[in-house]
Symmetry: C2
Subunit: 202 residues, 2 copies
DNA sequence: ACTCTATCGCAAAAGAGGTTGCGTTTGTGC
DNA sequence: GCACAAACGCAACCTCTTTTGCGATAGAGT
Protein backbone atom coordinates (compact mmCIF):
# COMPACT_ATOMS: atom_id res chain seq x y z
CA UNK A 1 0.00 0.00 0.00
CA UNK A 2 1.63 3.20 -1.14
CA UNK A 3 1.32 6.62 0.39
CA UNK A 4 -0.88 7.87 -2.42
CA UNK A 5 -3.40 5.16 -1.80
CA UNK A 6 -3.62 5.83 1.88
CA UNK A 7 -5.37 9.13 1.82
CA UNK A 8 -7.41 9.95 -1.19
CA UNK A 9 -9.17 13.25 -1.42
CA UNK A 10 -6.98 15.28 0.86
CA UNK A 11 -3.80 14.88 -1.01
CA UNK A 12 -2.69 18.46 -0.85
CA UNK A 13 -4.14 20.08 2.23
CA UNK A 14 -1.82 23.07 2.39
CA UNK A 15 -2.35 26.57 1.12
CA UNK A 16 -4.40 27.37 -1.93
CA UNK A 17 -6.46 24.21 -2.20
CA UNK A 18 -7.74 24.64 1.31
CA UNK A 19 -8.41 28.33 0.81
CA UNK A 20 -10.46 27.55 -2.25
CA UNK A 21 -12.38 24.88 -0.44
CA UNK A 22 -13.22 27.16 2.44
CA UNK A 23 -14.17 30.08 0.20
CA UNK A 24 -16.48 27.95 -1.91
CA UNK A 25 -18.22 26.36 1.05
CA UNK A 26 -18.62 29.74 2.67
CA UNK A 27 -20.10 31.22 -0.49
CA UNK A 28 -22.42 28.24 -0.82
CA UNK A 29 -23.64 28.63 2.72
CA UNK A 30 -24.29 32.32 2.22
CA UNK A 31 -26.16 31.90 -1.02
CA UNK A 32 -28.17 29.10 0.51
CA UNK A 33 -29.63 31.45 3.07
CA UNK A 34 -29.95 34.31 0.62
CA UNK A 35 -31.60 32.80 -2.43
CA UNK A 36 -32.48 29.22 -1.58
CA UNK A 37 -31.84 25.96 -3.31
CA UNK A 38 -33.03 26.28 -6.85
CA UNK A 39 -31.78 29.78 -7.43
CA UNK A 40 -28.36 28.87 -6.17
CA UNK A 41 -26.18 28.36 -9.21
CA UNK A 42 -22.71 26.88 -9.22
CA UNK A 43 -21.62 29.74 -11.40
CA UNK A 44 -22.62 32.31 -8.81
CA UNK A 45 -21.04 30.33 -6.00
CA UNK A 46 -17.81 30.30 -7.93
CA UNK A 47 -18.00 34.01 -8.66
CA UNK A 48 -18.56 34.88 -5.02
CA UNK A 49 -15.75 32.59 -3.92
CA UNK A 50 -13.44 34.26 -6.43
CA UNK A 51 -12.93 30.99 -8.21
CA UNK A 52 -13.69 29.58 -11.62
CA UNK A 53 -16.78 27.43 -11.91
CA UNK A 54 -14.79 24.58 -13.39
CA UNK A 55 -12.99 24.26 -10.10
CA UNK A 56 -16.23 23.93 -8.22
CA UNK A 57 -17.60 21.38 -10.66
CA UNK A 58 -14.47 19.29 -10.38
CA UNK A 59 -14.54 19.09 -6.62
CA UNK A 60 -18.26 18.77 -6.15
CA UNK A 61 -19.82 16.99 -9.11
CA UNK A 62 -23.40 17.85 -8.15
CA UNK A 63 -25.18 20.65 -6.39
CA UNK A 64 -26.48 18.44 -3.57
CA UNK A 65 -22.97 17.24 -2.81
CA UNK A 66 -21.72 20.78 -2.56
CA UNK A 67 -24.58 21.75 -0.32
CA UNK A 68 -24.10 18.61 1.75
CA UNK A 69 -20.56 19.58 2.62
CA UNK A 70 -21.40 23.23 3.16
CA UNK A 71 -24.15 22.32 5.57
CA UNK A 72 -22.00 19.78 7.36
CA UNK A 73 -19.20 22.28 7.89
CA UNK A 74 -21.44 25.11 8.84
CA UNK A 75 -23.46 23.19 11.37
CA UNK A 76 -20.44 22.22 13.38
CA UNK A 77 -21.06 25.52 15.03
CA UNK A 78 -23.28 23.51 17.24
CA UNK A 79 -26.50 24.44 18.86
CA UNK A 80 -25.76 24.38 22.57
CA UNK A 81 -27.58 21.81 24.65
CA UNK A 82 -29.36 23.59 27.50
CA UNK A 83 -29.14 22.51 31.13
CA UNK A 84 -31.72 24.40 33.13
CA UNK A 85 -32.32 21.86 35.86
CA UNK A 86 -35.68 20.52 34.68
CA UNK A 87 -36.80 18.55 31.63
CA UNK A 88 -39.43 21.10 30.84
CA UNK A 89 -36.94 23.93 31.01
CA UNK A 90 -34.44 22.07 28.89
CA UNK A 91 -36.96 21.12 26.26
CA UNK A 92 -38.36 24.62 26.11
CA UNK A 93 -34.90 26.07 25.72
CA UNK A 94 -34.00 23.57 23.03
CA UNK A 95 -37.21 24.20 21.14
CA UNK A 96 -36.60 27.92 21.39
CA UNK A 97 -33.16 27.50 19.89
CA UNK A 98 -34.58 25.52 17.00
CA UNK A 99 -37.22 28.18 16.44
CA UNK A 100 -34.59 30.89 16.46
CA UNK A 101 -32.43 28.96 14.04
CA UNK A 102 -34.95 28.03 11.41
CA UNK A 103 -37.56 30.69 12.02
CA UNK A 104 -35.77 33.68 10.59
CA UNK A 105 -36.19 34.47 6.92
CA UNK A 106 -32.76 33.25 6.02
CA UNK A 107 -33.03 30.28 8.33
CA UNK A 108 -36.27 29.20 6.74
CA UNK A 109 -34.86 29.47 3.25
CA UNK A 110 -31.82 27.60 4.38
CA UNK A 111 -33.84 24.85 6.04
CA UNK A 112 -36.06 24.39 3.04
CA UNK A 113 -33.04 24.32 0.80
CA UNK A 114 -31.55 21.51 2.79
CA UNK A 115 -34.74 19.53 2.55
CA UNK A 116 -34.87 20.18 -1.16
CA UNK A 117 -31.31 19.03 -1.58
CA UNK A 118 -32.01 15.91 0.44
CA UNK A 119 -34.93 15.17 -1.85
CA UNK A 120 -32.74 15.20 -4.90
CA UNK A 121 -29.75 13.31 -3.64
CA UNK A 122 -29.57 10.07 -1.77
CA UNK A 123 -26.02 10.85 -0.80
CA UNK A 124 -27.03 14.05 0.89
CA UNK A 125 -29.92 12.22 2.46
CA UNK A 126 -27.58 9.74 4.13
CA UNK A 127 -25.19 12.56 5.00
CA UNK A 128 -28.02 14.31 6.73
CA UNK A 129 -28.88 11.09 8.46
CA UNK A 130 -25.45 10.96 10.07
CA UNK A 131 -25.71 14.59 11.05
CA UNK A 132 -29.02 14.01 12.76
CA UNK A 133 -27.80 10.97 14.59
CA UNK A 134 -25.10 13.21 16.02
CA UNK A 135 -27.48 16.00 16.82
CA UNK A 136 -29.96 13.72 18.56
CA UNK A 137 -27.22 12.01 20.47
CA UNK A 138 -25.98 15.40 21.62
CA UNK A 139 -29.40 16.21 23.01
CA UNK A 140 -29.80 12.89 24.75
CA UNK A 141 -28.19 14.10 28.02
CA UNK A 142 -31.29 16.21 28.58
CA UNK A 143 -33.28 13.03 28.93
CA UNK A 144 -30.59 11.15 30.82
CA UNK A 145 -30.29 13.89 33.41
CA UNK A 146 -34.05 13.93 33.77
CA UNK A 147 -34.05 10.20 34.36
CA UNK A 148 -31.31 10.61 36.95
CA UNK A 149 -33.38 13.28 38.69
CA UNK A 150 -36.39 10.98 38.66
CA UNK A 151 -38.40 13.26 36.42
CA UNK A 152 -38.73 10.69 33.69
CA UNK A 153 -39.09 6.90 33.77
CA UNK A 154 -35.81 5.04 33.27
CA UNK A 155 -36.84 3.48 29.97
CA UNK A 156 -37.58 6.82 28.31
CA UNK A 157 -36.60 6.95 24.66
CA UNK A 158 -34.42 10.02 24.27
CA UNK A 159 -34.48 10.04 20.48
CA UNK A 160 -38.23 9.73 20.32
CA UNK A 161 -38.75 12.56 22.76
CA UNK A 162 -36.38 14.94 21.02
CA UNK A 163 -37.80 14.06 17.62
CA UNK A 164 -41.31 14.67 18.86
CA UNK A 165 -40.18 17.99 20.26
CA UNK A 166 -38.60 19.36 17.10
CA UNK A 167 -40.73 17.49 14.57
CA UNK A 168 -43.73 19.83 14.63
CA UNK A 169 -41.49 22.87 14.38
CA UNK A 170 -39.78 21.55 11.28
CA UNK A 171 -43.14 20.44 9.94
CA UNK A 172 -44.36 24.00 10.03
CA UNK A 173 -41.28 25.38 8.36
CA UNK A 174 -41.05 22.76 5.65
CA UNK A 175 -44.65 22.00 4.83
CA UNK A 176 -47.48 23.82 6.51
CA UNK A 177 -45.92 27.26 6.41
CA UNK A 178 -47.58 28.09 9.69
CA UNK A 179 -45.59 30.68 11.63
CA UNK A 180 -43.34 29.50 14.43
CA UNK A 181 -42.47 31.40 17.57
CA UNK A 182 -41.44 30.96 21.18
CA UNK A 183 -45.02 30.42 22.21
CA UNK A 184 -45.17 27.37 19.97
CA UNK A 185 -41.86 26.19 21.38
CA UNK A 186 -43.16 26.43 24.93
CA UNK A 187 -46.36 24.60 24.19
CA UNK A 188 -44.75 21.77 22.30
CA UNK A 189 -42.20 21.41 25.06
CA UNK A 190 -44.94 21.29 27.66
CA UNK A 191 -46.89 18.71 25.71
CA UNK A 192 -43.89 16.47 25.14
CA UNK A 193 -42.46 16.84 28.64
CA UNK A 194 -45.81 16.00 30.16
CA UNK A 195 -46.23 12.99 27.92
CA UNK A 196 -42.77 11.71 28.66
CA UNK A 197 -43.20 12.11 32.40
CA UNK A 198 -46.51 10.26 32.63
CA UNK A 199 -45.58 7.55 30.18
CA UNK A 200 -46.72 4.13 31.29
CA UNK A 201 -45.81 0.80 29.75
CA UNK A 202 -48.84 -0.51 27.89
CA UNK B 1 -68.55 43.43 -17.36
CA UNK B 2 -68.59 40.97 -20.23
CA UNK B 3 -68.86 37.22 -20.01
CA UNK B 4 -65.20 36.71 -20.88
CA UNK B 5 -64.09 38.80 -17.93
CA UNK B 6 -66.20 36.96 -15.44
CA UNK B 7 -64.36 33.69 -15.29
CA UNK B 8 -60.76 33.70 -16.23
CA UNK B 9 -58.82 30.50 -16.31
CA UNK B 10 -61.62 28.09 -16.92
CA UNK B 11 -62.83 29.56 -20.12
CA UNK B 12 -63.39 26.35 -21.98
CA UNK B 13 -64.04 23.58 -19.52
CA UNK B 14 -65.53 21.11 -21.95
CA UNK B 15 -63.89 18.30 -23.82
CA UNK B 16 -60.29 18.36 -24.94
CA UNK B 17 -58.92 21.10 -22.74
CA UNK B 18 -60.11 19.32 -19.66
CA UNK B 19 -58.86 15.96 -20.88
CA UNK B 20 -55.43 17.45 -21.43
CA UNK B 21 -55.44 19.03 -18.02
CA UNK B 22 -56.37 15.79 -16.32
CA UNK B 23 -53.90 13.72 -18.30
CA UNK B 24 -51.04 16.08 -17.53
CA UNK B 25 -51.80 16.26 -13.84
CA UNK B 26 -52.14 12.50 -13.69
CA UNK B 27 -48.83 12.01 -15.47
CA UNK B 28 -47.19 14.52 -13.15
CA UNK B 29 -48.47 12.74 -10.10
CA UNK B 30 -47.23 9.39 -11.36
CA UNK B 31 -43.79 10.63 -12.26
CA UNK B 32 -43.55 12.38 -8.93
CA UNK B 33 -43.79 9.08 -7.10
CA UNK B 34 -41.65 7.25 -9.63
CA UNK B 35 -38.64 9.44 -10.15
CA UNK B 36 -38.91 12.32 -7.70
CA UNK B 37 -38.68 16.06 -8.08
CA UNK B 38 -35.47 16.82 -9.88
CA UNK B 39 -35.65 13.98 -12.35
CA UNK B 40 -39.16 14.90 -13.30
CA UNK B 41 -38.97 16.74 -16.59
CA UNK B 42 -41.77 18.64 -18.28
CA UNK B 43 -40.91 16.87 -21.49
CA UNK B 44 -41.51 13.46 -20.00
CA UNK B 45 -44.71 14.58 -18.34
CA UNK B 46 -45.95 15.77 -21.70
CA UNK B 47 -44.93 12.55 -23.41
CA UNK B 48 -46.72 10.41 -20.86
CA UNK B 49 -49.80 12.57 -21.05
CA UNK B 50 -49.78 12.23 -24.82
CA UNK B 51 -49.44 15.96 -25.20
CA UNK B 52 -46.87 18.31 -26.59
CA UNK B 53 -44.53 19.88 -24.09
CA UNK B 54 -45.38 23.36 -25.32
CA UNK B 55 -48.89 22.84 -24.05
CA UNK B 56 -47.63 22.03 -20.59
CA UNK B 57 -45.30 24.99 -20.53
CA UNK B 58 -48.10 27.32 -21.53
CA UNK B 59 -50.49 26.20 -18.82
CA UNK B 60 -48.02 25.78 -16.02
CA UNK B 61 -45.15 28.21 -16.42
CA UNK B 62 -42.96 26.55 -13.81
CA UNK B 63 -42.41 23.08 -12.48
CA UNK B 64 -43.48 23.93 -8.93
CA UNK B 65 -46.77 25.31 -10.20
CA UNK B 66 -47.47 22.15 -12.11
CA UNK B 67 -46.63 20.02 -9.10
CA UNK B 68 -48.68 22.26 -6.87
CA UNK B 69 -51.80 21.61 -8.85
CA UNK B 70 -51.10 17.92 -9.29
CA UNK B 71 -50.65 17.49 -5.57
CA UNK B 72 -53.74 19.51 -4.78
CA UNK B 73 -55.91 17.43 -7.09
CA UNK B 74 -54.46 14.14 -6.05
CA UNK B 75 -54.72 14.71 -2.33
CA UNK B 76 -58.44 15.22 -2.42
CA UNK B 77 -58.53 11.49 -2.09
CA UNK B 78 -58.51 12.14 1.59
CA UNK B 79 -56.94 10.18 4.35
CA UNK B 80 -59.84 8.90 6.44
CA UNK B 81 -60.10 10.20 9.98
CA UNK B 82 -60.28 7.27 12.39
CA UNK B 83 -62.88 6.95 15.15
CA UNK B 84 -61.89 4.10 17.44
CA UNK B 85 -63.47 5.34 20.62
CA UNK B 86 -60.36 6.54 22.42
CA UNK B 87 -57.86 9.31 21.77
CA UNK B 88 -55.00 6.90 21.93
CA UNK B 89 -56.61 4.59 19.43
CA UNK B 90 -57.46 7.44 17.09
CA UNK B 91 -54.01 8.93 17.24
CA UNK B 92 -52.37 5.57 16.70
CA UNK B 93 -54.59 4.88 13.72
CA UNK B 94 -53.92 8.30 12.26
CA UNK B 95 -50.18 7.98 12.73
CA UNK B 96 -50.31 4.55 11.12
CA UNK B 97 -52.07 5.97 8.11
CA UNK B 98 -49.44 8.65 7.76
CA UNK B 99 -46.70 6.06 8.02
CA UNK B 100 -48.38 3.93 5.38
CA UNK B 101 -48.79 6.90 3.09
CA UNK B 102 -45.34 8.37 3.20
CA UNK B 103 -43.36 5.34 4.27
CA UNK B 104 -43.45 3.38 1.04
CA UNK B 105 -40.73 3.94 -1.51
CA UNK B 106 -42.98 5.88 -3.82
CA UNK B 107 -44.61 7.73 -0.96
CA UNK B 108 -41.26 8.84 0.38
CA UNK B 109 -40.12 10.07 -3.00
CA UNK B 110 -43.40 11.83 -3.44
CA UNK B 111 -43.26 13.46 -0.02
CA UNK B 112 -39.72 14.64 -0.50
CA UNK B 113 -40.63 15.95 -3.91
CA UNK B 114 -43.39 18.03 -2.46
CA UNK B 115 -41.07 19.47 0.13
CA UNK B 116 -38.52 20.22 -2.56
CA UNK B 117 -41.12 21.94 -4.67
CA UNK B 118 -42.31 23.96 -1.70
CA UNK B 119 -38.75 25.09 -1.15
CA UNK B 120 -38.51 26.52 -4.63
CA UNK B 121 -41.87 28.16 -4.94
CA UNK B 122 -43.62 30.49 -2.59
CA UNK B 123 -46.86 29.87 -4.45
CA UNK B 124 -46.68 26.18 -3.81
CA UNK B 125 -45.72 26.89 -0.24
CA UNK B 126 -48.90 28.86 0.35
CA UNK B 127 -50.87 26.26 -1.57
CA UNK B 128 -49.54 23.64 0.77
CA UNK B 129 -50.42 25.84 3.69
CA UNK B 130 -54.07 25.84 2.67
CA UNK B 131 -53.99 22.12 2.17
CA UNK B 132 -52.61 21.55 5.63
CA UNK B 133 -55.12 23.85 7.25
CA UNK B 134 -57.77 21.64 5.72
CA UNK B 135 -56.08 18.44 6.74
CA UNK B 136 -55.57 19.54 10.31
CA UNK B 137 -59.12 20.80 10.54
CA UNK B 138 -60.32 17.42 9.30
CA UNK B 139 -58.45 15.68 12.10
CA UNK B 140 -59.71 18.05 14.77
CA UNK B 141 -62.82 15.94 15.55
CA UNK B 142 -60.50 13.36 17.10
CA UNK B 143 -59.63 15.88 19.77
CA UNK B 144 -63.13 17.28 20.07
CA UNK B 145 -64.60 13.84 20.63
CA UNK B 146 -61.94 13.14 23.22
CA UNK B 147 -62.84 16.35 25.03
CA UNK B 148 -66.48 15.39 24.93
CA UNK B 149 -65.61 12.00 26.42
CA UNK B 150 -63.61 13.72 29.14
CA UNK B 151 -60.35 12.16 28.03
CA UNK B 152 -58.75 15.50 27.32
CA UNK B 153 -59.04 18.89 29.01
CA UNK B 154 -61.50 21.23 27.29
CA UNK B 155 -58.87 23.76 26.26
CA UNK B 156 -56.79 21.22 24.36
CA UNK B 157 -55.25 22.58 21.17
CA UNK B 158 -56.25 20.21 18.40
CA UNK B 159 -53.83 21.57 15.85
CA UNK B 160 -50.90 21.41 18.19
CA UNK B 161 -51.64 17.83 19.14
CA UNK B 162 -52.04 16.63 15.58
CA UNK B 163 -48.94 18.49 14.46
CA UNK B 164 -46.94 16.99 17.28
CA UNK B 165 -48.22 13.59 16.30
CA UNK B 166 -47.26 13.71 12.63
CA UNK B 167 -44.29 16.08 12.93
CA UNK B 168 -41.71 13.49 13.98
CA UNK B 169 -42.86 11.10 11.27
CA UNK B 170 -42.41 13.71 8.56
CA UNK B 171 -39.15 14.76 10.15
CA UNK B 172 -37.76 11.29 9.65
CA UNK B 173 -38.91 11.07 6.07
CA UNK B 174 -37.76 14.51 5.03
CA UNK B 175 -34.59 15.01 7.02
CA UNK B 176 -33.21 12.35 9.27
CA UNK B 177 -33.84 9.43 6.94
CA UNK B 178 -34.52 7.23 9.92
CA UNK B 179 -36.92 4.41 9.04
CA UNK B 180 -40.56 4.74 9.99
CA UNK B 181 -42.94 1.96 10.88
CA UNK B 182 -46.03 1.17 12.90
CA UNK B 183 -44.02 0.79 16.05
CA UNK B 184 -42.92 4.39 15.73
CA UNK B 185 -46.51 5.41 15.05
CA UNK B 186 -47.68 3.70 18.22
CA UNK B 187 -45.01 5.20 20.41
CA UNK B 188 -45.46 8.73 19.15
CA UNK B 189 -49.19 8.39 19.59
CA UNK B 190 -48.74 7.15 23.13
CA UNK B 191 -46.38 9.98 23.97
CA UNK B 192 -48.63 12.65 22.54
CA UNK B 193 -51.87 11.22 23.90
CA UNK B 194 -50.35 10.96 27.36
CA UNK B 195 -49.04 14.48 27.20
CA UNK B 196 -52.35 15.87 26.02
CA UNK B 197 -54.30 14.07 28.72
CA UNK B 198 -52.16 15.23 31.63
CA UNK B 199 -51.70 18.75 30.39
CA UNK B 200 -51.96 21.33 33.16
CA UNK B 201 -52.07 25.08 32.80
CA UNK B 202 -48.75 26.46 33.94
C1' DA C 1 -74.15 24.06 -40.22
C1' DC C 2 -71.12 28.24 -39.60
C1' DT C 3 -68.03 31.43 -37.28
C1' DC C 4 -65.08 32.70 -33.76
C1' DT C 5 -61.57 31.99 -30.68
C1' DA C 6 -59.30 29.27 -27.17
C1' DT C 7 -56.17 25.71 -27.22
C1' DC C 8 -52.92 22.60 -29.14
C1' DG C 9 -48.98 20.60 -32.23
C1' DC C 10 -44.85 21.44 -34.51
C1' DA C 11 -40.33 23.09 -35.47
C1' DA C 12 -36.85 26.24 -34.84
C1' DA C 13 -34.21 29.03 -31.83
C1' DA C 14 -32.71 31.00 -27.58
C1' DG C 15 -30.80 30.28 -23.06
C1' DA C 16 -28.80 28.18 -19.09
C1' DG C 17 -26.41 24.59 -16.78
C1' DG C 18 -22.85 21.50 -17.08
C1' DT C 19 -18.55 19.27 -19.43
C1' DT C 20 -13.96 18.75 -21.57
C1' DG C 21 -9.12 19.67 -23.27
C1' DC C 22 -5.22 22.18 -22.53
C1' DG C 23 -2.04 25.42 -20.76
C1' DT C 24 -0.65 27.66 -16.31
C1' DT C 25 0.00 28.17 -11.48
C1' DT C 26 1.13 26.34 -6.98
C1' DG C 27 2.20 23.00 -3.25
C1' DT C 28 5.28 19.17 -2.02
C1' DG C 29 9.31 16.15 -1.76
C1' DC C 30 14.07 15.76 -2.93
C1' DG D 1 16.55 25.62 -5.55
C1' DC D 2 14.53 21.96 -8.70
C1' DA D 3 11.44 18.66 -10.58
C1' DC D 4 7.03 16.56 -10.36
C1' DA D 5 2.23 16.26 -9.72
C1' DA D 6 -1.92 18.29 -8.06
C1' DA D 7 -5.07 21.88 -8.47
C1' DC D 8 -6.72 25.84 -10.98
C1' DG D 9 -8.16 29.22 -14.97
C1' DC D 10 -9.82 29.74 -19.41
C1' DA D 11 -12.51 29.09 -23.43
C1' DA D 12 -14.87 26.38 -26.35
C1' DC D 13 -18.29 22.96 -26.52
C1' DC D 14 -22.30 20.14 -25.56
C1' DT D 15 -26.69 18.91 -23.76
C1' DC D 16 -31.04 19.82 -21.94
C1' DT D 17 -34.62 23.09 -20.73
C1' DT D 18 -37.47 26.75 -21.97
C1' DT D 19 -39.34 30.14 -25.21
C1' DT D 20 -41.49 31.81 -29.50
C1' DG D 21 -44.03 32.15 -34.02
C1' DC D 22 -47.26 30.11 -36.86
C1' DG D 23 -50.50 27.00 -38.74
C1' DA D 24 -53.98 23.43 -37.41
C1' DT D 25 -57.69 21.65 -34.45
C1' DA D 26 -61.71 21.66 -31.76
C1' DG D 27 -65.21 23.67 -28.19
C1' DA D 28 -68.90 27.35 -27.79
C1' DG D 29 -72.35 30.45 -29.37
C1' DT D 30 -75.51 31.75 -33.14
Amino acid sequence: MTATEQRVGEQRPGGRAERVRTAVLEATSELLTEVGYDRLTIDEVAARAGVHKTTVYRRWPTKPELIAEAVRVHSDENVPIPDTGTVLGDLQALASEVVANIGSDGGTRRSRSIAAAAATSDELATGLHEFWVHRLAAAAPIIERAIARGELPPDSDANLIIETLVGPIWLRVLLTGEPIDDDLAERVALLVATGAAHQQPT
